[in-house]
Each structure stands twice: as C-alpha cells, then as structure tokens.
Symmetry: C3
C-alpha cells in the first residue's frame, strides 16, 4: 500500500527545484525537535500514563477539528465536546471517530488533513485513507497501539526525537508536574514558560484575588506597585528554576506603554482600589509588557508577544462550551504605533529578545519585517495559528525575508496541545522551508552551500539560539 504521506509531499513539482528541496530536506528531516513554545500537558510526562481512546486523544480536544465540523453543521455535543451545564454529550469514542471519518473530506486542502494523515501513517502505521468505510478498522488499530508501552508519553517523546519542549503555565501555577518530572529522574527535557495573563490583565476573571494569591505565593506586598513587580520577579525566577527561558503574552492588541515609575504606580493603585476604567486596564496591560521586557533584561527570559485575537467570538458557543472552542477570530493588528512605547524603552537593547507573532499577515512586509530588520531587540516568530500551514509559511518567508533576512526569525514553533501531531507539524515546516530555499537556489539567488546551512538554521539552530535553550 502507498503511504498516506508521499516522500515528496509539499515539494514543488518542478524537477530542479524538487531535487534541491529533497537534498536539503534529507539533511534536516532527522534533526532533533526544538519546541520552544507549546501547550502540551506536563502531567503527561510526569505520570507517563497511557493516552485515552483515539477520539479522546485526537478529536475531542482539537479545536481545529471540531471547529471545521461545527462550521458544516455538526453539533459539538456529537463530537464529545463537554457542555458547561453538564448535560450529556457523546462519550462513545468509536461513534465520535466515525462521525469524524465520514466528514474527513471536509479537511481537504487544510493542514489538519496533512497532520492527521502523518499521524495515522507515521505513528500508527495506517496507510488506508480515512473514510466512513475504514473508520472502525482505523479506530481499532489506533486503540490497540495506544495500549502499548511504546505509545506512552515518555516513549513517544523519545520516538519523536524531542530535544527540548516548553509547556506554558500561568503565573500562579505551582509547577507541580514539572517538579514531578524533575523528581522522577527522567531525562526528557521539559521546561515551562511564564504566562502571567491572570495577574497582568485587570479584565481577567478574578484579577484582584489573583494578585492576592500572587502576594501569598511570593511573600511580597502585591498591594503596592513595587511589591507587585518584586512578586513577578520572584515568580519568574521560580519558573526559571524549572527551565523556563521565556515568558508568553497574548493580548487583544500589541499596545504597549512607557510610563514613568510614578505614573505606573498611580495607575496600579487606581486599579487595586477598584477606581480604574477600561482605558486604565488597557494602559496597564501595555505597561506590563514593557515591565516584562525590562525584567527580561535582568533575568534573560525571552519575551513573546502574540496579539490580535478576538477571543470567544460566538456567545452561543461560549455559553455552552466555554473558552478556547475555536472561536478566537483574528482582526487587524497594528504594530508600528502600538509597540513604539516598548521599543522606545528597550528596542535598542542588544541583550533582549522580544519575539513577535501575528495573525494579521498584512503586517509581515509592512511592519514586522521593517521593525525586526532594524531593532536589535526584535525577532519574528514563525507563521502562527491560522497561518501554521504550507501556504501560510510560504507567505511568511516571501514577505519577511527580503527586509528582515532569515536571521531575524526564530525557527519553528508548534504551539500545540496535540502531542501526537508535533512531529507532523515540524515536518511540514521543514519541508516548506526547504522548498523555499530550493526555489532561491534554483533562481540563483542563493548558493547551494548557503541553502544547506540555512536549512539547519531554520529547522533547529535558530530556535535553540533565539530561545536560549
């Protein structure tokens, strides 16, 4: 049987380009995976328990999948997505899987299809196309494999050739699973990342209580601006002790601020006193990005900013199923004005690394590449989220390289909670980058030996260097 994944997948058809791409890819396909930004659950690595049934592993938690099915009229309940009101949803993995398989054709042309075929083929040895007909057989094969010891999280971690993976934890997380991993003596390298949304965004649920808790955890007075900053510093140090090399910030906009200490303290006091308005909250979020950047100058954490998502766009889905249900919709995002206050403060620093992401591709050539191609503190994160796809990655390179070059980018991020898909995602990125380099070589815009160097940089070295891993 032919493999679901052709050995030349994603390489251009033109012969001379394809053969260069093949040669480049050969040198990077087996490089270890550096995953500096993602959302896998550290508990998996800590407990090393078997993964649940195929549907619970591959369908139910994947908003790429249930979003597309929902868009075509399939009920989320029938896909096993839990309801906030606790009313019944489908729990039979096989029935969920069948529903997915019947509708798998909807994913034609999407990266989800690419990743899923890769997982079926490379991880589970299945090379028959997934359809209504093959659904049960496929389900059984996967279920069987998941019961085997070599399909437990740690075994897969090794099999996937992951050199290091970062998870993401909130500032108030006790990092117990990271502690458990360390205490277990297992040699897989799993690091955390500092995500302080709950304690830097005054609009976050329970913000005030969160700050109290932050004070309790650190022994600092989070009723005062200086105590609050000190508490952040302590948490960052704690996260660093579990391997963190970065912090992570997802705001609706890229707005930053550059207030004086006095102004910032006054703003903080207004918020703590409950006398602030929405403009204050926005200003505070912006100021905290700049504060985090200043702390990064001291402690070396890489600052990641990924703005632009309008979260929970559908009130119906939000009411029924809660957050992160595939309804985070991008909008226009300004960087050139929004980032100026932060850049005024720290943009010229050579020891700081701020990684910028976007959901608005119009900013690639117009704003992000010119900014990253000028400010020493800036680097461009890879094509991200809706753009973590072959065409998206190609556009990223075509629109950023001529102004920012390759070396102001940071390699690939998988950014996923879908652990089994991690090798697929890195494979797609490596192939697309090799195809891009091959085109440059074939058009004599790059020498072959340079392309080989770059292939490794893009697949491995840049991520390691930029994230200080």
């Amino acid at each position: 049987m032919k493999s679901l994944i052709h050995s030349d997948v994603l390489f251009p058809a033109e012969n001379s380009i394809r053969s260069i791409a093949q040669a480049l890819y050969k040198t990077v396909s087996d490089l270890p995976i550096i995953s500096p930004h993602g959302h896998t659950d550290p508990k998996w690595y800590a407990l090393d328990e078997p993964f649940p049934d195929p549907a619970q592993l591959l369908i139910v938690p994947d908003h790429y999948i249930f979003r597309m099915l929902f868009s075509q009229g399939i009920r989320l309940e029938d896909l096993g997505v839990r309801r906030l009101d606790g009313s019944a949803v489908e729990t039979d993995g096989r029935r969920i899987w069948r529903l997915f398989a019947e509708n798998y054709y909807l994913f034609r042309g999407t990266p989800t299809r690419q990743w899923m075929d890769f997982v079926l083929s490379n991880l589970f040895g299945i090379d028959e196309p997934l359809t209504a007909k093959t659904a049960d057989k496929t389900y059984d094969l996967i279920a069987e494999k998941l019961a085997l010891p070599e399909y437990r999280p740690r075994a897969l971690f090794k099999r996937f050739n992951i050199e290091v993976i970062a998870t993401t934890e909130g500032a108030l997380d006790d990092l117990r699973w990271h502690k458990a991993i360390r205490d277990s003596g297992w040699d897989g390298r799993v690091v955390t990342a500092y995500r302080p949304d709950a304690v830097v965004d005054p609009d976050f649920e329970g913000f005030s209580a969160n700050l109290d808790q932050l004070g309790d955890m650190t022994g600092e007075d989070t009723g005062s601006w200086t105590g609050y900053l000190a508490a952040h510093r302590k948490r960052r140090a704690y996260f660093k002790s579990f391997g963190a090399t970065s912090s992570d910030h997802g705001h609706a906009t890229a707005d930053t601020a550059n207030l004086s200490d006095q102004e910032a303290a006054a703003l903080f006091n207004r918020i703590r006193a409950g006398k602030s308005d929405l403009d204050d909250h926005k200003l505070f979020r912006g100021q905290m990005l700049t504060e985090m950047a200043k702390m990064s100058l001291d402690d070396g954490l890489v600052l990641q900013i990924h703005p632009g998502s309008r979260r929970n766009h559908s009130p119906t889905v939000f009411a029924n199923h809660g957050r992160d249900m595939g309804f985070d919709i991008p909008g226009r995002t300004d960087y050139v004005s929004a980032l100026k206050p932060l850049l005024d403060a720290v943009g010229a620093e050579r020891d700081l690394t701020v990684v910028l992401f976007t959901l608005d591709e119009t900013s690639y050539a117009r704003e992000l590449a010119p900014l990253a191609g000028a400010y020493p503190a800036l680097r461009l994160g890879p094509a991200w989220w809706f753009h973590d796809s072959p065409e998206g990655m190609r556009r990223f390179r075509e629109m950023t390289t001529e102004t920012a070059g390759f070396y102001n980018t940071v390699g690939f991020n998988d950014d996923t909670r879908a652990f089994p898909s991690i090798p697929a995602r890195h494979d797609v990125a490596r192939r697309v980058d090799c195809a891009f380099l091959a085109r440059l070589v074939s058009e004599h815009r790059l020498r072959e030996e340079e392309a080989f160097e770059l292939a490794t940089e893009l697949a491995y070295t840049l991520a390691k260097k930029a994230y200080r891993l």
Copy 2:
C-alpha cells in the same frame, strides 16, 4: 489560424501540473453553468429580440472596458456612454468599436482581455487578434452573427449550457419580465433575487416614498415597524414565487446590529418621522441585515452580503454620466467586529446560509476564512469584482482553503450583466480552480481522486447546493 484562446490557457507551464490540470478540466469544461448571482436583464429572455450592434452589446455597457479606456485619457462620450444632460455622444457603433480596437493593447494582462478574446473566438469564430487593422472586419463579422436567430438570447442561453441563471431585482420591481418568461412557456430557468437596497437604506434616494410604495404593493402598513417587516416578508414570498433563492445586499460596510424589537421599532419610527441622523441610518442598515437573516431562517432565502465599495468616487463622472460608471472603489473592510451582532443572533444556525463577499483581500485569511471555518451559517462567496480574475482567484484559494476548506465556499458567481461573457467567466474560474487543485495533487497534498471530486464540486455542485438551486 491559431485560436485566440489556447487550449491550455491559464494552466501552469510545469508539465506534471499542467497534465493534471488538463485531466481535471476535461471533466468539468462541459458541465452546465450555474449562475446564482448576476445582473443580466430578464427582458432579454422574455422578449428574445436580437442584440444590438457589436459596440452597444460589448463596449458601451461594460464599465470594465470604458473605465480602462477613460483612465488612459479617452473620453467616455467617444465611447458612446450617455450623458445625463442629454448632450451628444458617439452613436456610430463602428467608430466606437474602432476606438476600442486601437486601444485593445491596454487590456493586456487583464481578465477583460481574456473574456473578450474568448467571446471573439468561441462565440463569433474570430481568431485574428483584435487591432486597429482588424477592427472593421471583426465588427462586420460580429454584426452579421448578431442578426442570426441562433444569436438571440434564448438560443445563446441554450448554447451556453446555462442550467439556471439568477437576475437581481429591486424590492419594488413588479417582476413583469420574469412573469413574461414564465408565461411564454420557455423552458430556460431564470430566477430572480431580492435586492431591497431602496427600502432598507434610509440614505437611498426617495427612501420614504419607496416605503410608501412598498406598503401599497403589499397592503401592509409600512408606517409601522411590524407592518414594514411584514411587507418585506410578502415581497420575499413574491420573489420566491419567481424562483428566487437568495437576497442580495451591497452596503458600504459590513456593519450589522442586533437590537431588541423595541429598540428597532423606535429606530424605525425616528427614521419614518424624519428625525433620524446618519448614525441612525447606518444602524438601521445594519439591523436590516440581521432582520433579513432572521427572515431567511423562515423562508430559506440565502443572504448575500458584499460590502466595501465606495460608490461613485468621481464627482465629475457622476455628474456627467451617473451611477455605475466604473468609479466604485474598494476600501478597507472589517468583518470580525462588523458582523458580530448578526452572528450573535443567528451565526450558530445550521439552516441559514449567509454568503460573504469582499473587495478587501486582506480579510480572506485574517477574517473571512476563520469566520466561515467556524460559524455554521457562513459561507464564502468567490473572488469577486476586481478579484474575478486569474490571480485574484488563485489568491482566494491560497488564502482561504487552509482555514475554511473548500466546502465552506460556494463555487463561482459571474456577477455580470455582460451576457456574452458568461461562458468565458465560468471557464476562467474552472481553469484556475483546476490549476490550483493540480498543484495540490502534484505536491501530494491531495489525492488525484479527491481532486476530481473537488473539480466538479467547485465548478457545479457547491453553487447549486449553497444557493439551494
């Protein structure tokens, strides 16, 4: 003589892609035309009279053509475009045609050139390039053909293999030509579409009188909000009785509203009392999109929204020649915020179909694909107007497919009043889609049998299904 249209036109040069594209195209090139959205004149099909001279048919009414010539310094009067003040314009078809032919080189690289060559070659059997030299001969050949019975509207309708075509009529139209078509017993399927701009936009000329007329036509009290809504329902039912399966809405923005009944009634009363301001008008237009969507839930009409055009940009041209003279210029268009009120109300409905169009390609990957890839009620209209072109269609697929897939799109719309060009326009769309699919196959991102299925879906089935035809 070589044909003006090469059999491989619009297929990529690379051999393996081209041969897949050829094979795909072969299966769709002869499929019937589904034209669910357009602006041909139902009178043509009703009366079946011969078309006028070549210039009056092909040049004078086509704003793609006279706009480009005007942009290069040719007077609209010399092209036969009538003036509002009734002063003289060129009426000699042959002279207009000569002027066009002399300047035909200006259209190099444009879809107009592609369509016109297709019409000359496939419809009129002319395969000599159109130039000043060949102008007269070409004119004579076309004029001769237009006099033949097989060049009358109904004969062309059959020749073009049109399975169904939609025209567009205003809410106050009596649909007399549609009635005449029906009464004639002719078996060509021509349906109408409900375009209520004149009675939903308070800034429309004669809005108040239009509402009175709407009341007269329906026997409803359009002085009250409930009567006004009831009048719409009656008109929609009347349009449905002439085959309508859709309504059509072209606003300057995609703004929608989701007012309570009470608020909506109060707004309506303010407007009817002449006590409203421009913000009220905008709000009313937005509310009416949501009202139309709610009516669609009841009567099944597909709701089409195509915002973003700044109409009649040149006051000089508007004063001299009136509306629709090629000076409708696109601008930035927001969807993610603008549509939220409508989507809050009906976005999760599975029995509703809202087709979104855009003139702002930056919204494809950033907003439209994520929205259509999540909300069951949404589908994406094809690359439209300035983007109804080979590069425009390619970008549409490249920027929407990875997030929305193919099945959240609705096939092709020709959207034209240029009847002779309809086969050309569908042919371009079919070729470009086949080329896109061929690239995916050649890069092993899609299996060949899937591409064959999709080719038919994109050329025929999706339009039929989405528009419930």
Copy 3:
C-alpha cells in the same frame, strides 16, 4: 571562477518559462537606463572626483546595510556611522569592511545581497563570495579600482548607460551643482526634481524662516497666500530650467484637501501668524498637494506622492545619529478616502500625471489599481523601498496588472543614493518583469510578440513617457 551573478538569476526554474524570460531579457538588458527618481548627489557629476574608500562608498552611507547589521547587535559606531555629538566612530575603511564581510551572510535572501554581488562582480570584477576570509583581498581590489579614472562618476555614468538621471533637491536649493554640470559642458543628462517639504510642511524644522527665505529667493511676498503660491511657481520654473520634469512629495499620509481659495488663504494666514494647531498643519500639507497638482496642470511637472512612512521610529537612534538611519517604518495607508479631495479637483484631467507610490502592499489590488485604472490623472509608481525587491516586484505586478493593466504603471525607479548599485537595481527590475511576462506567455495569457513589446515598455519607454523625459 563562476560569476557571483548567474546569467539566469531571478528567472523561474521551469524550462519553458525560463527560456521565454531569457529571450525577453536579451532584448532589454542593454537598453539605456532611465532613472526618473533618485537621490544621487549632483556634486559627484559636477566635480567628477574619485569616490572615497570602499567602506565610505558602499557601507557607511547605505542604511539598508547598516540597519540590518544593527538589527543583529552590531553598533552603528563600529560601522563608521557618525554621531551627532561628534564622538568617535570607526574611520578605518578596512575595519568597517571586515565587519561587513564577516556578517554578509545576514543578507541572504535580501535584495541588498543581490545588488552587492552584482556590484562586486560587474563593476569590480570580483567573483569570489564575500566572507571574512576574502574581506581584505576584496577591499584592496575595490580600492585599487576606485583610484582609476574609469571609476570616476562621469565615466561610470557612461559605463552604466544612463540616458537620464534625476536627482532630488529641496525648494530652497540654489541648484549650484546642476549649474556647474551645465557650465562644464559635459553631455551627461542630469536633471533635478522639485521637493518642497521644507516649505509646504508647517511641522518642518524652521518652516517660518524657510518661507522667508523662499520670499527672498523669488522676490515674492510669502507672507500672503497668493505671494506664497507665486513663489512656488517661480521656483518650479527655475527647477524646470535645470531639466526638472517632476515634483516629489513624501508625507506621513496620503491626505489631501480641496479648500476654496478663501479657506486656503485663511489657513495659510493662521499658520503664518503662529496661531495654527496640528490639524491645521495636516490640512495645509493636504491642500498643498492639491495646489501642486494644479500648478502641474500649468507647468507640466509630474506630481509624485509617496506616503506612509513613520520617520525616525527609534528615538535612541535619532538622538545619536539623526535622520534617515534606517528607522523609517511603514504603516497602514489609506488612499481611497485620502486622495478624494485632490481627485475631486483634478483627477479627471487628462494632461496631468500624478504618480502614486506605497509602502503598504494591501493597497495595490484594493485601492491603487482601481484608482489608477479609472482616473486619467493617476499612474502607479513601481514597487518601492522595502518592496524594491524580487518578491516585492512580483507581488506588485500580480496585484495591480489585472485591474490597472501595464500602461497605468510607470516603469522602474531606483530611488537610490547608492550610485554604484544603479545598474544592479534596474537589472533586477528588468529580470523580474521579464519573468512575470514569461509566465503570462507560458500560460497563454499573452502572445509572445506582445510580451516583447511590453518588456521594452516596462524597462524603458513607460518611464520616459510618464516622466516626460
């Protein structure tokens, strides 16, 4: 040794496209250079002195180069970029060159790399890749050549086959170097262009004194609106006497205004009296674009508008090194509303040429092509600045041609002060345009003989015609 520049550089790999591109390129590669917009120093042509050392010629003044190096942590001082405070910077050309050579790999994939390799190879006969190892040897070879008479400005002008080049001078410039060129009897055609920023922008440093000086130079009363306009007319005439065929306007936005004479005079008086605010200043800049367009109707100067740059984005770099240090960052730019007042006044004029540039590619297909494809007064400037690059030029053609055609564009501008790179820049543009035309031919969208005509139009004729040179 292989040349650093392959003879097929920038041509697509696919054989049939490449061979058409080669054939097209062969007919344009040796055409004379028309450079209608640029920033070379007329003093060079006037004095014809040898250029300084390699680093002072090729590195220190080139913000494309030092910006990229700075973005990767290299100090501008180490690259010889002078500080405003006069403190020491590197002055040893060889050390600067070595630093550049060591880091030359950072430019992989950028047009800077393409231009520099072209200069090394075609101008200096160097075909060994530039690296740390070859730095000294390369430096010596260039230095040696620069001492030769055939490397002086006038000799290079001839060698570069420049038919005409435009420089850019401020409205208050006495054009002494242009006078010196004329007086020298040298037959190279060097013309000026009228750049009145200092006397049309109330926020410009010394605006009021500049207007006084403008009055002194022209004998007009620049205290009055009519005198001020008369002074502009006189300066434009003076510039025309030194060959100027264009004026040049770089504002932060494309905003224009269309005030009555009375309103404009009142605005001018407010500004002159020091009683204006920032909105007045913006309005005045916009009004002056319209005034310049009206003067162009009289004197025939081509009006160039290139908005969208946020100048001097980094206050640190601005404080240390001043203006034009690579920190002019683009932002979103609106045209369709911003230009309306100017177009209302003069857009339908057939004897006016307004050339529009952009740094915001999202405007190509959405706004600029529809505007230029409709208004007789408008033409599109080429892909510009950050987009003066292979991918940028390709996107320009792909996004503008289908709506505006080729004939509403104006050929290539090098827009550079880097004299040695001028042939490289024109060569890139010619190759990319030939590749684009070749693709159209290979896809049967254009006949071969048309492509040959267009290749010459794009490389030579359109620039000459549009700029009336």
